[in-house]
């Protein structure tokens, strides 16, 4: 009982209560404050490392992210990639299924894309190749998503750890395939696939390099919003996420929902692999997913699973990353600086959620201290 006395004796300075309601304006205000604070901290970090004044640092970041047309498009491309993975993760997370295997699902999708491009790209007409690319990538991602879902629904196997391990299985499969596909031989890289005939490359649309990616990703984003908000499936996912017991009680087949949702989630992540490989990099390596499978989890979570907010969040993160890469190269430092920046911003954003859910008040001055 000693502990009780301790707790009573030390009345905290703050009282934390859950907010019953918070206006949109206020919640976004809090997030904005968090963003500003994180930017200030980032500026100090960069300043400490480079000795540049913070104003120049941010000019450099803006220049690095959107300063030239080409840089702007790289930023847009990276945003799209991050966005589609986050969109893919949305239904799984809404269901409280901790799919942290997006990295692996994207890789498998990319691998399937590369396989189709390498084996069929040079011979078949491009339209058919692209169709096969999309089918194969979705199927590969789906396969990687359905395995943990099956065991989760059957034996309640921990999906966080299962999906995590599958990431590395996928990575090894990629290195395995690279051995057969490497070009030139001995380089241990695949190089640009079909550089000569562009077989299986996503063509330009409206004269834009990433036009098709843009259309596909935005379609998926809107589609996911509608699916989650207005369809029966979306409702079932939400119920299963809130409480599996409730779902069972109202007659929802929880196992079926888990399987179906993970097929969708994995499938979209697989498609993201196709967007990366066929739409942008035209090659495959273990870093094709490049940690975006993990960052996308955070994007989806921060956006409260609203696909439109995801556009904003992923654009902001990519903007800062691209900017940081530019700053780093300007000072001859390595580009991992961008991960540090991302990390700092994320910590602030994650922390800010607390102040949105809870209200922190000063306790009335020492009223309690004498009460005991």
């Amino acid at each position: 009982m000693l502990n009780d006395h301790e707790v009573l004796a030390k009345e905290p300075f703050f009282r934390i209560t859950k907010r019953a309601h918070i206006s949109n304006l206020k919640s976004w205000g809090i997030r904005l404050i968090a963003v500003v604070l994180s930017l200030i901290v980032c500026a100090f970090v960069i300043m400490a490392i480079t000795g540049e004044n913070p104003f120049n640092v941010y000019l450099g970041i803006i220049d690095g992210a959107i300063g030239k047309k080409r840089r702007l498009w790289v930023t847009i491309r990276e945003t799209l990639t991050l966005l589609i993975i986050a969109v893919g993760l949305t239904p799984a997370f809404k269901m409280r299924f901790w799919n942290i295997g997006a990295e692996g699902q994207v890789l498998m999708g990319g691998l399937a894309t590369a396989a189709v491009m390498i084996y069929l790209g040079p011979t078949l007409p491009n339209g058919i190749v692209l169709l096969l690319v999309f089918m194969a990538s979705i199927l590969a991602g789906l396969l990687w998503g359905i395995m943990p879902a099956y065991f989760k629904s059957k034996y309640n196997t921990n999906e966080t750890l299962f999906t995590l391990m599958l990431n590395y299985v996928a990575m090894q499969i990629v290195t395995f395939c690279i051995v057969f596909w490497e070009k030139p031989s001995g380089s241990n890289t695949v190089g640009i696939i079909n550089g000569a005939n562009e077989g299986g490359w996503l063509p330009k649309l409206f004269g834009l390099d990433y036009g098709w990616s843009l259309v596909i990703v935005l379609l998926m984003t809107v589609g996911m919003y509608v699916y989650m908000k207005f369809s029966k499936h979306g409702y079932e996912i939400a119920v299963v996420g809130e409480s599996q017991n409730t779902a069972r009680y109202v007659g929802i087949d929880v196992k079926k929902v888990i399987m179906r949702t993970m097929m969708i989630s994995g499938g979209i992540c697989g498609l993201a692999g196709a967007i990366i490989v066929s739409g942008a990099s035209h090659t495959i390596s273990t870093s094709t997913a490049g940690g975006r499978g993990f960052t996308a989890i955070i994007v989806a979570w921060m956006s409260k699973f609203n696909p439109f907010v995801m556009i904003l969040v992923s654009a902001f993160l990519v903007f800062m990353q691209q900017g940081a890469i530019q700053i780093a190269s300007q000072f001859g430092l390595n580009e991992n600086a961008s991960d540090i920046i991302t990390g700092i911003i994320l910590f602030f954003l994650i922390g800010s959620e607390f102040f949105i859910t809870y209200k922190v008040e000063r306790t009335k001055a020492k009223k309690e201290a004498t009460a005991k």
Binding site: M1, N3, D4, K18, I49, W98, I100, F151, Y155, N156, T157, N158, T160, L161, F162, L164, M165, L166, N167, Y168, V169, M171, Q172, I173, T175, F176, V179, F180, G291, F294, T295, I297, I298, W301, M302, G332, L333, N334, N336, A337, S338, D339, I340, T342, G343, I344, L346, F347, I350, G351, E353, F354, T357, Y358
Partner: protein, 326 residues
């Protein structure tokens, strides 16, 4: 015989980092915190130790290995404990989601490690790669007399002190968890924080201490890697997926540090088995490297299928506890 000997030595070299990481993660998870930031924390611990030694060796005219060792050891403990503290602050105090915080921490930590590892020498005005030979040789020093015994000396006593420390820490944590009152309290926090709270256990304090200590232990895995394994230098992403392997090992070990000791040896062996297996092509080597992960998945599925109570993850693993939300 000599091949077997080198194989065992190399396997042990691979396993120590993973063992530190797994032991740290076990004590963390026993408090109900699934700290997926461990891979990042191991990077942070490694680079912190390396930087401390680097600045010491630069500042001192005639650096003494032992002092470098102490400084880097302390730096690793402090920085990785700070990583754990940050995780705890966000998840326990600010009630944030553990997976999200953990993954952010890993992104941050790996970036932190690679950034400073790749640039610190340049930032300090030097050229070339960071190197701390004097301190590293102190880490690599084997046990004086015993290591000279033929065969047994090579097999058991030819390693730096961190190797022995990793086993001692695993043994101590194992004993702490299963045979002490505080260990019992900690496990009860991880199993059912509400009940533990009702029984008068300070859930917040247990979570904080377990996670911070766990992170510090895991950080030593990074230190081992840069000092003893690499010999006091840094290669970007050289540490690779060992952090995730450590988390996999926690599952394989069924949340028991004693199992983690032999489990880490198994993982270490699997990690390098392809070098010693005749008849492998470059491609099949890659499939061999998949084994640790596949085995972990199989263990995960089997334990969940058998559903034996003592082999399960702590029941509240990954869930935050708010007294007010009950």
């Amino acid at each position: 015989m000599t091949i077997l000997m080198t194989f065992i030595q190399k396997a042990i070299g691979q396993s120590i980092s993973i063992l530190f990481g797994a032991t740290g993660e076990i004590i963390t998870e026993k408090s109900g915190n699934l700290n997926l930031g461990i891979p990042g924390i191991m990077y942070m611990g490694g680079i912190a130790g390396l930087m401390a030694a680097f600045f010491y060796e630069r500042a001192s005219a005639a650096p003494i290995g032992f002092i470098g060792l102490l400084l880097s050891f302390a730096a690793t403990l402090i920085v990785s404990a700070l990583g754990g503290l940050l995780f705890c602050f966000l998840t326990v105090t600010l009630h944030a989601n553990q997976n999200v915080v953990g993954l952010s921490l890993t992104t941050f930590g790996i970036g932190f490690g690679n950034f400073f590892g790749g640039s610190i020498s340049k930032l300090a005005g030097g050229v070339g790669q960071i190197s701390v030979a004097t301190t590293a040789s102190a880490y690599r020093a084997d046990i004086p007399v015993l290591s000279k015994i033929p065969v047994i000396g090579d097999l058991l006593f030819s390693y730096g002190f961190l190797t022995y420390l990793s086993i001692i820490v695993a043994l101590v944590i194992g004993r702490f968890l299963m045979h002490t009152r505080k260990g019992l309290n900690l496990r009860s926090v991880g199993e059912d924080p509400a009940t533990a709270d009702a029984a008068g256990i300070n859930v917040t304090r247990y979570k904080y201490i377990a996670t911070t200590v766990g992170a510090a232990i895991a950080g030593l895995g990074g230190l081992y890697f840069v000092m003893e394994y690499l010999g006091g230098t840094w290669t970007n992403n050289g540490f690779g997926d060992r952090g995730w392997l450590a988390i996999a090992l926690v599952i394989l070990a069924l949340w028991k540090p004693l199992n983690a000791i032999w489990g880490s040896l198994l993982f270490g062996s699997l990690f390098i088995l392809y070098i010693y297996t005749p008849g492998l092509t470059r491609a099949t080597q890659e499939l061999f490297k998949m084994l640790p992960y596949v085995i972990t998945i199989v263990v995960l599925v089997i334990t969940s299928k058998r559903d034996k109570l003592e082999n399960q993850p702590p029941s509240s693993l990954g869930e935050s506890y708010y007294r007010e939300d009950r």
